[in-house]
Symmetry: C2
């Protein structure tokens, strides 16, 4: 059954890594009233993922407002349960940035002015031609005995404090600052002290096959019990409206065993799914298409009606795409289709703009116009209104034309206007991927 | 000083609503191991925002894995502290969907097979031509005495259970199911019992002015103490790389007082910011531009180089855009610029593709080609490599041409390739907004 967008379902019945005993207890506490009135918090996800790469598992993530009493209670409880508590946010210069003071109160460690830090802070403002406000000085106060986590992109340094064999880590809220500080300082620090084992992740991206069908095909791989010395395997499926991502997570102490396991599992997935898998890890459909075009030294032109520029936008998101992408035309009027793409008046009249025939002529036209090796086109009804000729929302034709091939495919998609644009653009890029020779 | 993307900074020094005494204690508990290994959780943000609209404030949001012992401990603590605990996720049919059983254990309420619910479940599968698996039956078990929250889009019904004057609400994890269930059942239910007061939110979207400048200009409005019978005002600023959003939140018991306060504050912001504010609430820059074009019955054509189709994509995201948007050209090669846009060979040779002169000829060309009222163009260096001619990353020229106006503007943006595309597209749409007459 189709699943909701963006939900990760751990299909695995062996979720071994997760179920393994928690040796270390780690919690993340995110501070900020905005987090509790509708703002999505990405810091917890980022930090927990980074911790997972060194085998450290987060037991809880707690969001709490800029409320001293509530934060005191949260931190006291978290510190009681945990070996490491990572606190994000509330390190700004204003009175409602309460984290420094609350942590000082909870741990009994005084806040001490750090002269070196004050100088760094002053330089930060000088370098940017800003006048430092007196209120910023509080950001140079460090908990007694804490290590400083340098922040090159903002004014709030992070801190790592050890109290009674527990660590409390303070990080600023802006993701732009928090991310490098986590990667450059916090992870290496915790890795040195606590690394439990390695975790490696392999993501396989698919498109064009329903989640239920994929689930059936991979069920056997997932259900197979495996003996893997000291290692644990987790699988997860993330269904999006343009495709399904499969995640293989293998943890253990021996990097070679982990790498071998990932290669073996990956091969099993490819064996059952074949070219439904279009890429891995950070690859996108458009980067894969770009790699193929580049390798084969072929050029591309795109004629878009219903996708309205989205295909060109995705293609040009890839650095270096100007080497193979020659031209895009968004023909949002019949005149445009006739004038630039040489779609015939009689074809438009006889079959309508959303038709197999017009899709084909659009692809032929855009290819010829700029003398590209491949021309691809889309025409369809993105909604929310169906066409005046009664063609339904989601109906789309995609055509691909090269010197020796002409393809037209029909699709019937569902969803919002934005989702339908996404799905048609993805289907077009996927047809391209499978047909460049 | 520029702030990080997506961070909400409560600039207000009077954050009164937040600081007001918490009468009711509400917590959200999100269940799912995926939430603790890198998946961003949007359910908490959604539910907390909906609760805020009826004046209910969330004190904590806790994410916890599919781990019975940990969830038992979280729920026992949350129930001790709270009047309402909302639990999301873990209502699926498999063994690692633990929420139902854990809540039964913590509250001492038995899970009872609900025959009506079982029939609904069976019908759900029949209607979709799927065979219901035996394991799905657990989803028809309801906590003794609980109210059912209907779920039209999935198999897990929600539940509302009252125990010792406290409410525990169970919702499924997929956002697509959770959202309508929250809006249609949970919020009306809690509103009837607990409504603390009203909260209304007004968002003003700006672009083209630095956050620090905006902050300076609005400082006086934010710092003004206001006597507002029974009402509380909060401001927040959300800086994104394409602009700054200002949020006014007013809560209280009297809808008329709230509405008046919002109108008054809104006027004050417009007085100091003027047309830097391009829209409100759910409006986007492209929807505002579309509204103006529609109202004035003008048509548009777009010629994009560095933005690569993004402007056309944004314009065509607006339903009904085919009424004013005639054509887009993504000219990613000199040949394309010459052929469709009639940019002169000598202009390209003399000034280079990224120049004021080429931008102007592109806008003139695309306007003339399709006989539109307005032609707009972009040419620039999106990166990550600077041009072979030594022009820097982020340099861009945007031109707008109408029957009686010709504009070219130069910009120097910073950021990643995607950010620079975004910023140039936004600047182009903003020039359009300000110049359609």
């Amino acid at each position: 059954m189709p699943r909701a967008i963006n939900r990760c379902i751990t299909t695995s019945e062996i979720v071994r890594w997760w179920d393994s005993e928690i040796v270390m207890h780690i919690e993340i506490v995110c501070v900020g009233s905005e987090l509790l009135i509708g703002f999505v918090n990405t810091n917890g996800a980022f930090v927990s993922e980074k911790l997972a790469t060194i085998g450290l598992k987060v037991a809880r993530e707690i969001s709490v407002g800029d409320d001293s009493a509530e934060l005191i209670s949260v931190l006291e409880e978290s510190l009681r349960r945990s070996d490491v508590v990572i606190v994000t946010g509330g390190l700004g210069p204003t009175f409602d940035d309460i984290t420094r003071n609350v942590v000082s109160k909870v741990t009994g460690k005084k806040l001490v002015l750090n002269k070196e830090q004050l100088k760094i802070l002053k330089d930060f403002f000088v370098n940017r031609n800003y006048k430092m406000s007196k209120t910023n000085e509080v950001q140079a106060y460090i908990l007694d005995g804490a290590e400083i986590i340098p922040n090159n992109l903002g004014t709030a340094p992070g801190q790592i404090l050890e109290v009674a064999n527990k660590f409390i880590v303070l990080l600023p809220g802006p993701p732009r600052e928090l991310k490098p500080m986590t990667e450059n300082t916090v992870i290496p620090f915790l890795k040195e002290r606590f690394e439990k084992g390695l975790l490696k992740v392999k993501v396989l991206h698919t498109t064009g096959m329903a989640e239920s069908t994929i689930d059936e095909k991979i069920r056997k791989i997932i259900d197979t019990e495996r003996e893997l010395e000291g290692s644990e395997i987790t699988f997860s499926i993330l269904a999006k409206h343009t495709g399904v991502d499969l995640k293989i997570l293998v943890s253990g102490d021996d990097e070679m065993i982990i790498d071998e396991a990932i290669q073996k599992l990956k091969k099993e997935f490819y064996d059952v799914l074949g070219d439904v898998i279009y890429g891995e890890d950070n690859q996108t459909l458009e980067s894969v298409v770009g790699d193929i075009l580049m390798k084969k030294r072929k050029t591309l032109a795109v004629a878009e009606s219903c996708t309205g520029g989205l295909i060109a936008h995705r293609i040009t998101n890839v650095a270096g795409s100007s080497l193979y992408f020659k031209q895009g035309v968004v023909s949002y009027s019949e005149m445009s289709k006739k004038k630039i793409l040489d779609v015939k008046e009689e074809t438009l009249n006889k079959f309508g703009a959303v038709s197999e025939q017009v899709a084909l002529e659009m692809a032929e036209g855009v290819k010829a116009n700029i003398n590209a090796d491949y021309g691809i086109s889309t025409t369809g009804i993105a909604g929310p209104k169906s066409s005046s000729t009664g063609k339904p929302i989601g109906l789309a034709f995609i055509s691909l034309v090269s010197n020796n091939k002409k393809i037209v495919k029909q699709f019937n998609f569902t969803g919002s206007r934005a989702e339908i644009k996404d799905k048609i653009a993805t289907a077009a890029l996927d047809i391209l991927r499978k047909n460049i020779i």
